[in-house]
Symmetry: C2
């Protein structure tokens, strides 16, 4: 009954998803609500609409509607770079000499270089539809800022990006891509916001952090008429938009009768992992199928594997709603020797709940092993992977090697979120043999956790 | 009868070309033969086989066989990143408000970031098949070196790249991609070859040039048992491999009843332009159809538009065969303020002959206008184009704007050879408004032409 499986599976236009899938609708234990940082009560639609576009605030709160229509304008934009292929890693399998079948869903074939564009265009679209002038955001490694710049250029929206200072300085080319797409890029902490000035005063010469850039972007949005804040990960709305990844993968698997045993994704804030696994998790929640899901995080920022499940601040300035999530504490800073993204202190509340319910596993890997896997993958599969994506590659290879030992012919699916063209400085360190690993001590994590808000 | 034309046309696997097309077979005036630099007589198969793999030397000399089978192993590799889409530039058309229909063949969806991979895998394959240990080559901007590194990693061949020193230093990330794919990258001129040592002695502190790096790579190949030299452009064999671009484009046009009036490509050594236009030129040569072909070169290196048609050296050290081509003289050096590639002093002998016969037009454009076109294109079409490719974008936009004036609904097809992720330094100069234009004076060109070999 097995149709011959092509090297790369591209769905036909008629087979593409027309709706996003909201996994919360099928979850028995819903993710905990966001809390207003002032009242510590669940954030209302009205409150969230001060920060986010109204339609996005609705999506953020909706945990009952299983399918949400993708507006035609977004479907049209998706055509510019979607469908993303589901690729059978024949060459990697051969190199590993494993009986496992390995597939990856490749999201890097667009200028932003990652899956981030899936949500950037959705958030920009709703902002445009609401008649806004522009949006503000933060970016760390730069993939999200690039994606948002592209979406805003396409829709003629003003785009203001607060870029973590160390990235702004070390990744000038990322910054230039954003500028080429017409965005204003400001190194964070800056002197253009109150919270930025305060942090600069408190920590002179600071390199900045994602949590701080978020606070600045939120303040900047609220200071200007016709602006809202947008975010590239962590939020329910972002996971919703990213389900286009999983829905395409699921449709491709169904079409060719592929049944993944294990589904693997890298996890920072959770946007890619949540998007990839949601539709499959839905099958598991409804009792239709079973899968092993593995979240892979860097050992230098291990929120699922070493954090606590509790309400925490999403940003340094504590201007955003609080979220119940696996967290290392909002003041946790991963070592500057950590090369890739995946540096956020917390995890999506949806994924946190699924993990807490035992529906998903998590593991952490060290960066030198990640770059070794990335290099091995690049040489046989042709694609130069982003460091973030390579966390999933590492664990996919590990699982395939286990199959080699046991002789099992498992089917492994992983998310290849993007390309590493702007990460060559890190590759150079690896090539030169001067890349190190960094694992925070228990004391470091405990100190950060001790600074978390006490809500009870 | 017009089928609805998708945004992006991807051919089915069964529709992909299985043979390359050799346009020389249909040319009445064949391109002039290569000359042995010592005897000044046409290079024989035996002589060429000292420099190139034997099968490639055969392809270099074959001007009668119209179709040459693509070996299955190369077809398998092509599956990793081909077919390349033929894209209807709906968004660009709308932004220009032109009645013209604009299509582009996009070759950037692979890690090497350009069309160069089409010939890299072919040349690496024949080297492997001949039982060689490895290959040597030169690279300027780095696209060719990256492509060859990828192909060699895939086939487990040793890969030695002489990279023009100024690029080696200014584009460290290109260098790291090659190293990640396992290549040895040496800045040229180096002290590892006789010709390199001589040039370093003669011009202390030189930044290097493509012509010099070619000489070093040829010498390095001949010094080691089991090595041959490979080249990314200019040669007949390279144009042959690159016809996969034009054949796919032609098949996609036929399938959807698209009839291009104008076909445009950027031209450095001619690999992309030759590959794109060859199959369409074949129709023209056989009297089956008519097309306007436009070669676009940088005004800073205008071999077709301001050079002479004569035998010239292909490299600085004069170790390669001589080629009859449009040339600015092998000692011509484009200004260092010229940002992109397309810096070679001569042009493919096939394209030179077609141009001389009036079958193809040529024009030159200044780099600030090229980057302006690139930015306009990026913002509406999503893809960040390579500076080289953007020469074609510039002229495609110009032709579309002419249609706007006249009201003609012409169909324009251009080659989008690659992406600009490693060219952000040049984009930054453009974004900062500090990029200049540089047009060589008549005196500069005449001085270089005066240094050319006198053969009669």
């Amino acid at each position: 009954m097995n149709k011959e499986i092509p090297y790369k599976i591209y769905l036909e236009e008629s087979e593409l998803p027309k709706q996003w899938y909201n996994v919360r609708a099928d979850m028995k234990n819903k993710p905990a609500p966001l809390l207003n940082p002032k009242t510590l009560k669940p954030s209302t639609l009205e409150e969230l609409s001060q920060v986010f576009c109204e339609e996005l605030a609705k999506q953020e709160l909706d945990d009952t509607t299983p399918y949400i229509d993708i507006p035609q304008e977004i479907l049209d934009f998706y055509k510019m770079y979607r469908p993303a292929p589901l690729v059978r890693a024949y060459c990697l399998e051969k190199a590993l000499d494993t009986p496992a079948k390995i597939y990856y869903k490749f999201e890097g074939n667009n200028t932003s270089g990652s899956h981030k564009l899936n949500s950037a265009i959705a958030q920009a679209y709703y902002a445009k539809k609401q008649g806004l002038k522009g949006v503000t955001t933060e970016t760390g490694a730069g993939q999200w800022g690039t994606a948002l710049s592209m979406a805003c250029a396409y829709l003629d929206l003003d785009c203001n990006v607060y870029m973590v200072k160390v990235s702004y300085e070390q990744k000038p080319f990322r910054r230039e891509v954003m500028r080429t797409y017409g965005a204003n890029v400001t190194p964070s902490p800056s002197m253009t916001t109150e919270v930025g000035r305060k942090i600069n005063e408190q920590f002179p010469g600071t390199n900045g952090s994602l949590g701080c850039a978020i606070s600045e972007a939120v303040e900047a949005a609220q200071a200007k008429e016709g602006y809202r804040y947008v975010l590239g990960s962590v939020l329910n709305q972002v996971l919703l938009h990213q389900t286009v990844i999983g829905l395409e993968a699921q449709a491709a698997c169904k079409k060719y009768d592929i049944k993944p045993d294990i589904i693997i994704g890298c996890a920072g804030g959770g946007s890619n992992l949540g998007g990839l696994i949601s539709p499959f998790m839905g099958e598991k929640l409804r009792g239709e199928a079973d899968y092993r899901f593995i979240a892979v995080e860097p050992s230098s920022c291990p929120s699922l594997t070493r954090g606590v499940y509790a309400y925490d601040y999403c940003d340094t300035g504590a201007v955003c709603p609080l979220s119940k999530m696996y967290t290392l504490g909002s003041t946790f800073m991963p070592s500057s020797s950590h090369a890739g993204g995946l540096r956020y202190h917390g995890m999506s509340s949806v994924l946190s709940q699924l993990y807490d319910d035992g529906l998903m596993e998590a593991t952490s890997v060290e960066q030198t092993s990640v770059f070794a896997a990335a290099t091995q993958f690049a040489r046989v599969e042709g694609i130069l992977p982003a460091p973030e994506s390579s966390h999933a590659i590492k664990v996919a290879i590990d699982e395939a090697m286990k199959c080699k030992e046991t002789g099992e012919e498992k089917t492994i699916l992983f998310g290849l979120t993007g390309t590493g063209y702007f990460d060559m400085y890190a590759y150079q360190k690896f090539n030169d043999g001067v890349m190190g690993d960094y694992i925070p001590t228990d004391d470091e994590i405990n100190e950060s956790l001790a600074r978390m808000p006490k809500l009870d």
